[in-house]
């Protein structure tokens, strides 16, 4: 007998039939003798519809009121789930964010969980009830409803699992685990049995949208094992765990692709202190997030500075950069939005040399030119021309023999 937190996403509870299927799955775990806490998202599409209504009411809806509106989505699914479980003969009770005592800061629309009082959940479990908690929502110190941002239900589930000291946190989704790369791009992609929190953090931030990145950070901090699996079949998915937990360390666990960035290069700015700050401060003030930053040495007291931003921010970023470059005496601003970033990720890199050279050689063998390179302890990313993006993913998947896992 164990204490299990199960989280189901929007497609898994997309209509009453699917809610019924999820209820059967929950009941099965309960029948096996487990205490079960279920965390739910809104039915798929509902959140988007609510946002659309908000934008009809106001050009720039106030975030506090948006959170009041959006939180109805999960409120609907948890009550319907509790009713469905009761109809099947189980004791069940729904809890909204404030009822489950999910305390957040006051960052409406993307609030952070400060604490969870496990008392009420524990009391209901002691009463042999299945507890159905609304994901994505909490309450701030002033009693305002808050939401945790897109994908926030993952974070709710992990945080609740940490708070009630659950044995496992199962994240049910519409894919059946974490893959070595996107199977739509590379048909040799393999499902990973295990992946470390750190690798998952790199995967999530690089576009593998299975888990909200903050939930992985939370899981790492409180050492909550996450089991990512499909709500549509019974197969084992992927365990996201501490890298020390006896797993075989792969040199490379996955290849990711991000086509959502664009590149800006400022050529030949003076190579002197304060130049980077002068370029990046106005971008930060405009709320533009910069991803990669690369500065190349150049002769003659000048330097080239290259960085990437999301395509959504690209045009604003060009305008700001051109203005600053002119003030600094920069000679030229080069721009490109037909780029893609491919990355290889693996905790094993820490202890293995030669990963970078193998990656560069594999791309070179296919005449794919590398425009930018950045690395972290467990990741190497290359910016290449967008037209080679999918080809590069397949080449790298082969180069690191990920299909042989």
């Amino acid at each position: 007998m164990a204490l299990i937190v199960q989280k189901y996403g929007g497609t898994s509870v997309g209509d009453l039939d699917r809610i019924h299927n999820v209820a059967k799955r929950v009941a099965k775990s309960y029948d096996q003798g487990n205490d079960v806490v279920v965390v739910l998202s809104a039915m798929s599409g509902v959140t988007d519809k609510l946002i659309e209504m908000a934008y009809q009411a106001s050009e720039k809806p106030c975030k506090r009121e948006m959170d009041v509106l959006l939180s109805t989505g999960e409120q609907t699914t948890v009550s319907l789930m509790a009713m469905t479980l009761q109809q099947m003969g189980y004791k069940a009770e729904s809890l909204l964010g404030f009822q489950a005592d999910i305390q957040t800061d006051n960052g409406a629309g993307k609030a952070r969980i400060m604490s969870i009082g496990a008392g009420r959940i524990k009391r209901l479990l002691a009463d042999k009830k299945i507890v159905v908690v609304a994901g994505f929502q909490g309450i701030d110190a002033d009693g305002n409803i808050t939401t945790l941002g897109r994908g926030g239900s993952d974070t709710s589930a992990v945080a609740i699992a940490a708070s009630v000291k659950a044995d496992a946190c199962e994240i049910y989704t519409d894919v059946d685990g974490i893959y070595t790369t996107d199977p739509r791009i590379c048909d040799k992609a393999k499902k990973l049995e295990r992946i470390s929190y750190d690798e998952m953090l790199e995967m999530a931030s690089l576009g593998a949208k299975v888990l909200q990145i903050r939930s992985v950070g939370f899981a790492k901090k409180y050492n909550v094992p996450i089991h990512v699996r499909s709500s549509f079949n019974e197969e084992e998915g992927t365990m996201v765990v501490n890298e020390d937990s006896g797993m075989e360390q792969l040199v490379v666990s996955g290849v990711t692709l991000d086509k959502n960035e664009a590149r800006i290069t400022v050529k030949r700015v003076p190579d002197q202190p304060g130049v980077s700050a002068k370029i990046f401060s106005p971008l930060a003030e405009a709320g533009i997030q910069v991803d990669m930053i690369i500065q190349n040495t150049r002769s003659g007291g000048e330097t080239d500075l290259t960085f990437t931003v999301t395509k959504a921010d690209y045009k604003d970023a060009i305008d700001i950069t051109k203005k600053v470059a002119e003030e600094l005496g920069g000679k030229e601003v080069l721009v490109a939005d037909d780029i893609a970033k491919v990355s290889v990720i693996g905790v094993g890199m820490k202890n293995h040399s030669g990963v970078a050279s193998r990656m560069f050689q594999a791309l070179a063998d296919e005449n794919i030119n590398i425009r930018l390179i950045t690395t972290s302890e467990i990741r190497i990313s290359c910016v290449i021309d967008e037209r080679y993006a999918e080809l590069a993913v397949r080449i790298l998947h082969d180069a690191f023999a990920l299909d042989e896992l």
Copy 2:
């Protein structure tokens, strides 16, 4: 400058255009220098849709979970209203039942308000904000969401008005006031300028569905003046006030019609103590509400007992009554569902004789047979054959010259 509570029903906030119209009306009152608290229902149709979903999830949805589900309706309208007011340049903030500290008992689905903490509403008003409160909902002592039953937003509004000591409680609806009778039946019906709480209580319970009856009881208890008016035009509606408040006392203020009852008569039961209890106890145990009860004297130690129930309970009531009648030695059970109840109502009756005889004579003049009669201090009701229902209303409206108000 005054403190005004305005309540808008489901049709008044039925879509975003209508919400915008309501917002303009709210803003106008605010611009006149008033402090404004707005209480809203769910968009028309939404509650019915949610109930339908609940019955798809469960044959007999648990009331606690039903309340969680239904309360999303008002949550949606208050957030959209706050956004709309903000878009128009006003400071506004929504409050859900629990945030407005609307404490109820634990009677899920038809909870009663126990207390309202005016503190948060008062603080927001002091900050010159328009406060938008979700009607129909509250929270019980255990932190469960509760709802107040159909039409409960009226009660929310009146209770909030009592709690914040508002100068007036305006109930905006899709009719422009309280009429002497249903204008769809009698085209001479006239809008009343004023009506007393007691008359309104009789009207509400007899089928004039403009105000939830409990809201009128609340208003009477705390002496909150209610102004019932249309949300679609600017005309003055009807004031529902204390009968001592300087109003001219009409002998008869209105004629009501109720076609939703059916009649059951138990013939010739023993005229001895305990017989009534034996008949009505099993009905009460089955949750069947009995409206009129009339016992006629009969010779020979026997009596006839007649009562009415709603048509929804009619068949169950017959089964139960037949069984009891047999046990009691009753000779016959007569039933009829083709009946209607017409009533005349007026506080002036207390001080005027001859109202009953005028009513009976008017019906007799048209050869309408009276099957049952009951009276209260300010009401006389006659059960007649259903086919004469509308005719009787028009006759009585004329007989008491209500079109000459």
